[in-house]
């Protein structure tokens, strides 16, 4: 071991922080080098001087009390914050749950409610059409007369089918107003029963499955097909009305 190496390691030796093998090397060096031996002796006496100098300064008595009361204040300050947080949770959690349930109901019921409202309008339009002089604007059993009649009256051209061979007589067509927009109404007759077929471009693209409803004693069937929405309403029994729907959908 060289003296320069010894210079720092002697402190580790003095502090008892060296491995055994290192310590033995240091001891050997101290034994053989008078200069380093003296350095070591000086360090030992320095340490003794420090140890005997009462240099550790303990906390003043008042500080303990001061810190304790500061801690109590802090502890009290912390507690209400936590309670407040939880308090808010207790207050808002049920309200939040109720809100979520209401929102879910609203979202789930929304199309139904809209359908319900539309169905009511459809039935009202049907009832109105049954009043004298309101049934048709164009009286014709010919699809090639009825269909062109809508030109210039609507921004779409409704499909018109002649279903006389299947027992549904086309009486004609008229303009009506359902669901906040002008719609095409085609009127068919089955025996003594009148059928209104309302046609309007669908707000939603694609197809929507059939929905059957009844309102005020009338049967309704609605569906969407090829971007057009259809509503059929009549006092005809449901199975025959379904038959009509099948024919229209073909």
């Amino acid at each position: 071991m060289s003296c320069s190496e010894f210079g720092v390691l002697i402190h580790g030796y003095l502090d008892g922080e060296l491995e055994l093998s290192r310590s033995l090397e240091i001891e050997q060096h101290i034994g053989s080098c008078p200069s380093c031996s003296q350095t070591y002796a000086n360090l030992r006496s320095l340490r003794q001087a420090i140890a005997g100098g009462s240099l550790h300064i303990d906390a003043p008595k008042g500080l303990r009390m001061r810190v304790r009361s500061a801690l109590r204040r802090e502890s009290r300050a912390e507690a209400p914050i936590k309670l407040m947080r939880w308090g808010w949770m207790f207050l808002w959690a049920p309200l939040g749950a109720v809100a979520i349930v209401l929102l879910a109901i609203f979202i789930l019921r929304l199309p139904q409610a809209a359908d319900g409202r539309l169905a009511q309008e459809v039935v009202s339009a049907h009832v109105r059409s049954l009043q004298p002089g309101h049934l048709v604007d164009v009286t014709s059993g010919d699809q090639h007369t009825v269909k062109p009649w809508f030109n210039g009256k609507l921004d779409f051209s409704p499909p018109v089918k002649d279903l006389a061979a299947q027992g549904f007589i086309l009486l004609g067509g008229r303009l009506d107003y359902v669901g906040d927009r002008a719609v095409a109404a085609l009127v068919y007759q089955r025996r003594k029963h009148l059928i209104n077929l309302f046609i309007t471009p669908s707000a939603r693209a694609g197809s929507v499955a059939e929905k059957s409803l009844s309102d005020r004693g009338y049967n309704l069937i609605g569906w969407t097909q090829s971007d057009m929405s259809y509503w059929v309403v009549s006092d005809l029994n449901e199975s025959e009305l379904r038959q009509f729907v099948l024919l229209v959908r073909k």
Binding site: G12, S45, G53, L55, H56, D58, R68, A70, E78
Partner: protein
């Protein structure tokens, strides 16, 4: 209830370390009033972070916070003191005069020792205080001051050498 329990546990494990906390703060700030302020602030910080204390060496855990609080305080109030000496690595200890000075050091009274330690640069002072006054191991000092073990040893070497030089040069020290 939880808060009460926390305070109780804190007072039981951390409060007994106040002498060590004050001693370090006192030597780093070199002022009783400032050391008391620092200790109080450090204790409040420690209380806040108490959840992070996983048991074990409560003194090192607290002293780490005390030291950080001291450095923040020094940075605010004694700008310029926190400048690390760069010659640490280029430590030349062979120039230590290997002459007997046991007599001299035995004469060094508490007051001159106190003054000589206070005059040490911050990083050497804190290492020496933790080692000689708190009796902490290199490992504990390394944890508190965020240093490698080797640096703890070299800082101690430097601190002792500077201390010795100061004691030798103190007026009246030689007499």
């Amino acid at each position: 209830m939880i808060a009460e329990d926390k305070l109780e546990r804190f007072e039981k494990s951390i409060l007994p370390q106040m002498d060590a906390a004050y001693n370090l703060a006192r030597w780093l700030t070199r002022s009783d009033v400032d050391a008391q302020d620092v200790v109080q602030e450090a204790y409040l910080r420690a209380f806040k972070f108490f959840a992070g204390f996983r048991g074990g060496d409560s003194r090192s855990w607290l002293l780490r916070i005390v030291r950080n609080t001291c450095y923040t305080w020094i940075g605010k109030n004694r700008r310029g003191e926190v400048k690390m000496t760069t010659e640490e690595e280029a430590l030349d200890l062979t120039s230590d005069a290997a002459t007997p000075d046991e007599v001299l050091l035995q004469k060094a009274d508490s007051k001159s020792l106190h003054q000589a330690i206070e005059e040490l640069p911050l990083e050497f002072r804190e290492t020496l205080v933790m080692r000689e006054l708190e009796g902490m191991s290199y490992k504990e000092i390394a944890d508190v001051a965020d240093l490698p073990l080797g640096t703890v040893m070299s800082r101690l070497a430097r601190a002792r050498r500077l201390l010795r030089q100061r004691l030798l040069n103190q007026p009246g020290g030689k007499g």
